[in-house]
Symmetry: C2
Subunit: 376 residues, 2 copies
């Protein structure tokens, strides 16, 4: 195979505000797929692609958005994100034709990875492969170098700290360490989860119930509210678009909140701070409400952090990478025993990829949004 005609999803230009269909192009392209001997590369067939909220940051122009911390995509280039792939050709001794892997790949049918050391081989195949874009995935510290010349290879801090760390929430491990390690939950504590049906939130809700906590979630539709209660076992849930947030939080947490797992940020976080109990803990996992705004909303209730001895903690899964094998075993066992459920919302084909990704920012997904590019 020297070259191959294939479909690719391209970001046409930097995005302002909410991403829209016209920001993306589905193009056909001849991709050169030559794996010369000694190249230690792999050619991947992409099977599933994750629609992750953090990708919004990569669509912004860093010059006009100096607060943007994650390296931007290059306009005119193929999107890059987490995916599950099949190795269809390999010149790397660590990979064989037929291996299934997950890691950063292109939003296209086939991708050449020049140095696949950082791809993760999938050994457990008793669960859907797509789960490795979410519940069973983690994330990589460094990506696989010059994939489309725009790799997510380091955070570009305002002063160029060369930390080489990328922080995305693509894995169930984020739910696991964010809840257990950062929030130190105890049985009987009260837990609030925003984006209760998202790829992370649905797991936090289930972990909280396993822990013996009282857990309430919020979501943007009645369908998701019902799913939270019936499928994920939240004690209760509400549609934050239909209720006054302060009144709802007061109703569901008359004694206050011990733990808030924040996937939303902004006004939601600001209000929740008012409802935290003394010594409450907030895991700052994501802030999807802020990603499409030109100016982030302000958090005005920070004095509560002082007077109520609150903790607000960000985290990066690599600090807990020693936990990943334990987590993987835990998650697969619980999935297979039916004690943990995981809901994905699958869009079929690269033709529907951009609208799937756009939909995430409008809360249209019910569960983790995944694009199925090919079936295997």
């Amino acid at each position: 195979m020297v070259s191959k005609q294939q479909k690719q999803v391209v970001l046409k230009d930097y995005v302002r505000g909410y991403p829209k269909e016209s920001d993306f192009e589905l193009r056909s392209s001849d991709t050169i797929c030559v794996l010369s001997n000694g190249s230690r590369a792999v050619l991947l067939k992409n099977l599933c692609l994750a629609c992750d909220p953090y990708m919004r940051h990569r669509m912004s122009d860093q010059v006009s958005h100096p607060g943007t911390i994650i390296k931007s995509y290059s306009p005119g280039s193929v999107l890059v994100g987490y995916g599950v792939c099949k190795v269809i050709q390999s010149t790397h001794p660590g990979f064989q034709e037929g291996d299934f892997v997950w890691g950063l790949t292109g939003w296209e049918e086939y991708t050449v990875i020049p140095n696949p050391e950082r791809l993760n081989k999938i050994s457990h195949t008793g669960v859907p492969l797509s789960y490795y874009t979410g519940i069973l995935g983690s994330y990589q510290i460094k990506a696989t170098t010059l994939l489309h010349g725009q790799l997510y290879d380091k955070l570009e801090y305002r002063y160029d700290f060369d930390q080489g760390m990328a922080r995305v929430r693509t894995g169930g491990i984020a739910a696991y360490v964010g809840f257990y390690n950062l929030c130190s939950p105890k049985a009987g504590e009260t837990v609030y989860v925003s984006s209760a049906c998202g790829g992370v939130g649905q797991l936090v809700g289930q972990f909280a119930k396993m822990m013996g906590c009282y857990v309430v979630g919020s979501a943007s539709t009645e369908e998701k509210v019902n799913l939270s209660k019936t499928k994920f076992g939240f004690d209760d849930a509400f549609n934050y678009k239909e209720h006054d947030l302060a009144a709802a939080l007061k109703r569901y947490f008359p004694g206050g909140i011990d733990i808030y797992f924040d996937n939303v940020g902004g006004k939601m976080l600001d209000e929740v701070i008012m409802h935290m109990k003394p010594h409450g803990r907030i895991a700052a996992c994501g802030m999807i409400s802020q990603y499409n705004l030109e100016e982030p909303e302000g958090i005005h209730n920070m004095f509560n952090v002082v007077v109520k001895s609150l903790e607000i903690k960000g985290f990066v899964e690599t600090d807990f990478k020693h936990i990943y094998p334990e987590y993987l075993e835990f998650a697969i066992r619980h999935l297979q025993e039916g004690k943990l459920v995981y809901v994905e919302d699958i869009a079929e084909g690269l033709e529907n990829a951009s609208s799937a990704l756009i939909g995430v920012f409008h809360g249209r997904n019910v569960g983790k949004k995944v694009v199925r590019v090919a079936s295997g």
Copy 2:
């Protein structure tokens, strides 16, 4: 002694914005000072009174300021705050005439404390007694009941959590546990302290140097900037009113900040978050920039908490009360050996008490502001 003519500082009405002289009244009053047998009370002669920023919260009307968490003073009543006092009469077996104590007392010459169990007896007198309003003080969980009918006896949370906890920063123990216990400093780390000459900030700077950190402070006048460097040993300091904050932080911390000890909040906190290193820690000790505002400023850069794995922690000294005896020994020994210095800014007499307190909110104090009511 049945009654005594004395001077008292009274809050005339709830304060809006910055407190001003007309909000207070110095009145003469006949105070009944009868300690009947069996009353287990003490009559105190007040020696020194602390001018603490938290007192501003108590001057606000909670009804019109629902975000106000600390119980308000009653208009028309004598101010209450931390002080150092001499017992001049006692019907309580635990207290003798001539004992020196510190704790909550009235802004007046003499105060009757009906249940003095929560007063703290001063045993080390080799340091100025006034130090027990600051560097050697801690704070009390519950106050001494109905002192002027307005005791600081519990936090009134928005939903009336009955936690019985009051959180004020009146002691050096706040600097000690806030720095050592919350921020887990390591030698060589970079530390930024706002209000570098305040009662807490000056100590954090010295603790940071003892730890082998690089520490820079900010203050509102050149006099305080110089004092920070020459007296407290900060590696550097700057006048935040004279410099662009972002540029100054970039200049003093080209590699970023590991630890921020926040006494200021608001825009300062918002900017500092941008300069934190990954895994940076912020001790949320106080937010004096916000106390006189009708609406608190918003913190817009919270997404940095997510992507840089920051921790923002409030704290309450009572969680560390087991450390207080150790701290007291440490502080007194270091003071006596000249390894720790402490600067107070003393106003003489109740006549000058309200202007001393007002001045704190304009940064007029150089060091911990204390009112000396009597000399002993």
